[in-house]
Structures are given as C-alpha cells and as structure tokens.
C-alpha cells in the first residue's frame, strides 16, 4: 500500500478533524456537490457545522469562539483541509475572514456582537475583496461622502455565496484611500445576482451597490497607508484557508489517481507499472508533499508582519500553481474516464482551478511577496 505521509496532529486537532469528517461524510457527498450550483440556499446545516466549531477558531471566547489548540488559524486550516477534501460548499473561508476582522474591532464597536451570531451559525457573512487588489475579477466599489452620509457604489463580482449570505464586509475606495464597511444584505440599494462558475461545487454571485448607505468605516487599529494592515491580515487568512482547501482537494484527487494507476490494467499489467506514469505520479506526489509543507509554513506565518505576508503569498503562489498542475496530472492518469460526469475528477479540477484564482492568483501573489520584501523595495526605490 502507498505510504501516507502525515505528521500526526495534536490530539485535540485530530479530534476536530475526525468530528468534521463524521459530520461531512453523513451530511455531504460528491454526488450532492454536483448540484450545488443549482441550489438557492446553503446545502449544509450551518448551525450543526457551527457546533463543530467551523466559525469559532478565530473568535475570542468572550464572543462565543475559541480554538482547540493554541493556534486558531492552525485549527481553522484543519477544518479547511476537510472542506476541500470533501468538496464542501458554503461560506467557510469568507465567514472566518469576517469573524476574525470583526473580533479585532475595538471593544466599543457594536459590530463585534455580530461575531457571536456568526460563530453560532445563526447568520453568515462574506468578505468582498474588490478593492483590496486581490480579486482577479476586480470590481470597483467606491465610498463617497454625500451630505454627511457614506454611500457605496459599484459592482463586486465573483463573490462566494453572494446571493445567500446575510452580511458583507466590503472594501471600498474612498477619497482617503481604502476603507472597510459592514453592510447587511437587506440594505437599500444592494442587489445580488447569481453568476456561472467553473466550480460547480460552490455558488458565486455579483453584488451591486447602488448608493448603499454604509455606517462608519471599520477600523480595527488606527493606521495609515493605502492598504491598511487589517486588509493585509484578511488577505493572509483568506489565502491560508484557501491553501488548506486546495491541499485537501489535492490530497484526495491524488489518492484517487494513484489508486486508479495501481488497479487499472493495460497490455496485461497495471498502468502504474509503466515508467512514464510512475514518473508523472512521482512528480505529482512532490507537488502534493511540497504543498503540504507550504500550508504548514503559511499557517505559521499568519501574524508575522511583513515577513509573514511574504511567506503567505509565497505559499499561495506555489500551491495555486501546483494545484492546477496536480489536477491536470490526475486528469491525464485517469484517461477517458476522467471526462465523464459521474467521475469525481472534474469536480476536483474545477475546485482546484477556482481556488487557485480566488483571493489573488499566483502571479498576483508573486507580486505581493516582492512588495513585502524590504530588499526588493530598496532595489526598485
């Protein structure tokens, strides 16, 4: 049998993983994943998921949260890996980004109380990254001051679960730079519509802001700069959880391709005995194992300042490219059967390729890592 290369998790993280697996394996299946794009509501019971701690790991205890280990982001990544491995739909990544952001708001900010509802699964939120620069399909949301009111205008496409979530954390360009606002879905002037996606295991939509009145800007820590540190942290968290989603999906896709190579026969022997395929699988295995290593590195890098942003982007860029290559390699190993609707291969290829582009694609992250390198700044200055 193939050797599984896993570094044992801490016991509480292993319990979290097992509980997540049990829940997902009874409540979800790749067959159901094929129909997600046709549904109008969250296919999974998010309150049940919330009880497992899916939205709690990045929230403080006083707001109903709490991690199982000393690292909330590491715990969230454990769940994130299972999301990808089992093609779980729903706003796991974006809700966690919003939970983390709102948890860091100052004590007097009443938007902190929203965290409690998000952690409990009573409501959901998504992070609208248009304007942060990470979105490949960049929308253009602006915030302008009119008669003492802040009005949002513009469109943000390619937002996961845009048509169903209750809250949006919107990043908009104002006269002073980038600002962030928390907007409810029933806000006057806000409309959403479904979009088509390569990834049918999740739903995406566009949000239109037509003079939507926004409350005060969210400021988790006062600071200057065109793109403030709070947005950089959100990019880091969204990236790390997307990396975990990719690694989970890569791990499963590779397992399936390897099993196919070991059992499918041609010319009287398993196709996995042909050196052309063995070498392809060895190279693909390297992509997978290196991606696991980079996932661990990215988890460690969160909250690491400039060096942390560099390392997270290094990981996102590498894993994004590797995810697509792995999906393509596995496709090649499966041969004709990989083209059939019944086979899961296309679901993983769709998910991996979409993850690779979400929250900044590989080339965007290569640029970001250079932006955070003090030495590179010297050079270009």
């Amino acid at each position: 049998m193939p050797t599984r290369l896993e570094i044992p998790l801490a016991s509480e993280q292993a319990m979290l993983r097992d509980a997540t697996r049990r829940f997902v394996s009874t409540a979800w299946s790749p067959v159901a994943a094929r129909e997600v794009h046709n549904t109008e509501s969250d296919p999974l019971d998010l309150r049940q998921a919330a009880e497992l701690g899916w939205f709690a790991m990045l929230a403080p205890e006083e707001l109903g949260g709490g991690s199982v280990s000393t690292s909330g982001i590491a715990d969230a990544a454990v769940i994130g890996y299972e999301q990808g491995r089992h093609l779980v739909p729903g706003p796991f990544i974006s809700t966690n980004v919003v939970v983390d952001a709102l948890s860091r708001a100052p004590a007097g900010d009443d938007r902190r109380s929203l965290v409690r509802d998000l952690v409990a699964g009573w409501c959901t939120a998504t992070w609208v990254d248009a304007g942060s620069g990470a979105a490949v399909a960049t929308g253009n949301v602006t915030a302008s001051r009119v008669n003492g009111r802040t009005l949002l205008r513009g469109t943000a496409p390619a937002v996961q679960d845009a048509t169903t979530v209750d809250w949006f954390l919107v990043t908009a360009q104002s006269a002073e730079g980038l600002d962030q606002f928390v907007v409810p879905r029933d806000a006057s002037g806000l409309s959403t519509k479904s979009q088509q996606s390569l990834d049918i295991t999740r739903r995406f939509g566009a949000i239109t802001f037509d003079d939507v009145e926004a409350g005060p800007a969210l400021e988790v820590a006062p600071g200057a700069g065109a793109v403030s540190e709070q947005i950089q942290r959100q990019i880091d968290i969204a990236s790390v959880l997307t990396i975990a989603d990719m690694v989970g999906a890569m791990d499963h896709d590779f397992d399936a391709a390897l099993e196919h190579a070991r059992t499918r026969t041609a010319f009287g022997r398993p196709i996995g005995s042909f050196q052309a395929l063995k070498h392809l699988l060895a190279d693909t295995s390297l992509l997978l194992e290196a991606s696991k290593a980079m996932m661990d590195a990215a988890v460690r890098a969160v909250a690491g300042g400039a060096a942390g942003h560099m390392l997270v982007s290094t990981a996102k860029a590498y894993v994004a490219d590797s995810a697509i290559s792995l999906g393509q390699d596995c496709f090649q190993v499966f041969g004709g059967i990989g083209f059939s609707w019944e086979h899961d291969q296309h679901l993983y290829l769709r998910r991996l390729t979409t993850d690779a582009s979400l929250f900044g694609d590989a080339s965007w992250h290569r640029r970001r890592l250079l932006d955070w390198d003090p030495y590179a700044k010297d050079v270009t200055a």
């Binding site: 050797t3 290369l5 570094i7 005995s273 063995k278 390297l286 560099m310 390392l311 590498y318 590179a376």
Partner: protein
C-alpha cells in the same frame, strides 16, 4: 536536559570566542584545489577542535568521540557557524557526514579503534570509491573485483566521479566478491589506503575547468581482511545506509538549521539591478519564482526531516523528495540567472566576476539533477517505495553477473 544543553552552548560559545577567529568575507565556503600546505593548516585547526572535545560530538566515546546527543552536535554547529572552523572541502563532508557514520554502523571494533581517533585529529580524510564507469545510476552494477587470497583480498578494477580523491588518505571501496548471485547480493566494502601500491588516482577536468573529482585504477591492490567493512557479500545493505547519509546531507549541510530564505533571491535581484532590469515585470516575476522554489525546498526538507523522525517511512526514501526538488529547482534557477543576464552573462569583461558566477552556475547546476542519484532515480524511489507502484520489469539474469 534543557539546562544542560544551554550550559553546553555557553561553554562552546566561550571556547569558540577564545580559540577560533570569526568568519570573514574572504573565507571560502568550500575549499578547492587543495594543496598539501593548505591541508596541513586545516589539519592543525582540526586537532585544536578535537583536543578541546568539539570533534565527533555525537560519536561513541570508546573511539574518541564525546558520546553526546545529536542535539549537542547541533548546538555546537549553530554556535560555530560564525567561526572559521576546519574546512576540508568536499572530503570534510564525505569523511564526517558519510564515511564515518557508515563505518560506525558496520566496521569492526578494532578497525574503528585504529581509524576514528585519527579522523578526529584531522589525520585521515576519507573518500567514497563507489561509482564506476559502467555503474552510475545502476550502482549495484559494480565490476571492480575483489578476490580472496587467505587473509588478503586483491582488488582490480576502476572507479569514477570520486569527489576529492586526489587529497584523500583512505577510500571506502565497493567491490564484487561473488559473481554467481544476483548483482545486489555479491558486493562487499573495503577500506583502501589511497597510497597503497597499485592505486592510481587521476583528476577528471570538469566543464568549468576545475577538477575536484577523480577516477581511480586498482591494479591487484592488496587489502587485509581486517579492513573489510561489513559482512562478505552484504555490501548492498551497507550501501543503502551510506546512501541515506549521503542524500540527507544535501539538506543538512553540516547539520546547520534549515530555515526559509527571509528575503527574495538576493543574488538575482542584485544582478537585475546591475543590469538596469530591476523594475522589469518579467524579471520580477522570474525572481519571485526563484524565491518561491528556495522557500519550498527549505520547507519541504524540514517536513521530510520531521516525517523521518516520526518514522513515517525510511529516511532514504523520504530524502528523495527534497533531492528531486533540488534536482528540478537548481537548474531552473540557474537558467533564470541567464535569462535575466541576457547577453551580459554570455559575454562579459574581466571586471565582472559576478557575471562569470552566473555563467558558471549555469554550467554546474545540472549536477544537482544527476549527482547523488538522478532525478529519474529519485522518481523511481518515490514511485516504488512511497507510492508502492510496481517495480520495473528487469532484463537482467537473476542468477549472477556474467562479465
């Protein structure tokens, strides 16, 4: 335990500060073109370190080592990183990182009694006599013959690609002792005195014009049976252990800690700046790609070391991952240097040694994809030993090596 280690660290730090000089910019990373005079100075330095008890830190006490843990060894190497420690070039790594660990695992006590203290004092440097002209990737295809003659073995044959053999004192030589069994089963290791009658060492000039590697000819060389390492015909088992030491060395690099590069490919950025290409988006993307591979290699190595320590699989199979990564990344990185350099790294003036380095690097980088196991061999190791895919069909006779 932690107290004891930090006390050890303090003591080592004091000794280093009082006895060795700090590394300076002009100090070579790796000694090359070694002459006897150069070697004598390094041997003196090694004796100083050994007499203070900082050589063979984790080697057994009975052979002159300190009998301390790997952690102690690691602590000393961390502290010594800033100092000008003995530099024996490639043979330093071969002797201390490959040959002695292998001998400690397989050689007889009286043999170790005689040789290990000399190694510790810098009096003996060891080389591997392993690869042959007709046995590269097919390492077990060794044709050098050892024939028994009472208490003596007679060696005849030739070896190739032996790094640093021209200044070695002893070599660990793999020879065929049985021609009637499958090729992996008839091999035995011997310690050979490089100055013994019948041994000829010739340097091989490489593509860069340097000659750190050699070829050797053995013409009826006498070796005592006491200098046999491991059991007769069991040499392949010894070789596996040796290869695991060798593969893990690339990443251990004298046992230094593996850390991710903290800023982006400084050498390539400097080259780009020098050529006025520092804000060319194509160049920036290439530099970022090189950096990503640098970080991936470090993180992958750390992960495989941890998996190895956790017993997930055998060390030499796990080491195939970083070895393959290095074999893919190194030539790619060298090529990026040439792409940034454009014509400036194919034609340059004498006063641009940094451009010459980029060009030389381009020529040598392919070595990481070949030496110590080719990329293709690493893929076979991963496919067969980790992924458990079926072995290749063999076209060799199962009943012996007929040549």
């Amino acid at each position: 335990m932690n107290d004891e280690l930090s006390e050890y660290r303090d003591r080592a730090r004091r000794w280093l500060a009082e006895n060795l000089r700090r590394r300076e910019l002009g100090d070579a990373d790796d000694l090359r073109n070694i002459t006897p005079g150069l070697l004598d100075a390094e041997r003196d330095l090694q004796r100083l370190v050994a007499e203070a008890g900082y050589a063979g830190i984790s080697w057994p006490k009975e052979y002159g080592g300190q009998g301390l843990s790997q952690e102690h060894e690691h602590v000393f190497q961390q502290e010594a990183a800033e100092y000008r420690v003995p530099n024996f070039g490639v043979l330093g790594r071969t002797t201390f990182g490959i040959c002695v660990p292998t001998m400690l695992a397989f050689a007889r006590a009286d043999f170790l009694d005689e040789h290990i203290p000399k190694v510790l004092r810098g009096e003996e440097l060891w080389v591997q006599f392993f690869t042959e002209p007709a046995a590269g990737s097919d390492l077990a295809g060794v044709l050098t013959r050892a024939t028994r003659d009472g208490d003596i073995w007679r060696l005849t044959g030739s070896k190739m690609w032996s790094s640093g053999a021209y200044y070695a004192d002893y070599g660990l030589c793999l020879a065929r002792t049985n021609w009637d069994v499958p090729k992996h089963r008839g091999l035995t290791w011997f310690a050979v005195d490089v100055d013994a009658p019948g041994v000829t060492v010739r340097p091989i000039t490489l593509i860069t014009g340097e000659s750190e590697v050699c070829e050797e000819f053995f013409d009826d060389v006498e070796v005592s049976d006491r200098d046999r390492i491991g059991e007769i015909d069991e040499g392949w088992t010894v070789a596996q252990t040796m290869l695991a030491f060798e593969r893990s060395m690339g990443s251990r690099n004298h046992g230094a800690v593996v850390t991710s590069p903290s800023h982006v490919a400084a050498d390539l950025q400097e080259l780009a700046r020098d050529l006025g290409r520092a804000d060319d988006p194509t160049v920036l993307d290439m530099i970022a790609r090189a950096h990503i591979n640098d970080v991936v290699f470090a993180e992958l190595t750390a992960r495989m070391t941890a998996l190895s320590a956790a017993g997930a699989a055998d060390a030499s199979s796990l080491a195939a991952y970083p070895k393959l990564a290095a074999g893919l990344f190194t030539p790619e990185r060298a090529r990026i240097g040439m792409e940034i350099g454009r014509v400036a790294t194919v034609v340059w003036d004498d006063d641009h040694p940094e451009r010459a380095r980029v060009a030389t690097n381009y020529l040598t980088a392919r070595g990481r994809a070949i030496a110590g196991g080719t990329n293709q061999m690493m893929r076979n190791v991963i496919a067969e030993r980790i992924l458990d895919l079926p072995r290749e069909v063999s076209f060799e006779d199962g009943d012996g090596v007929h040549r």
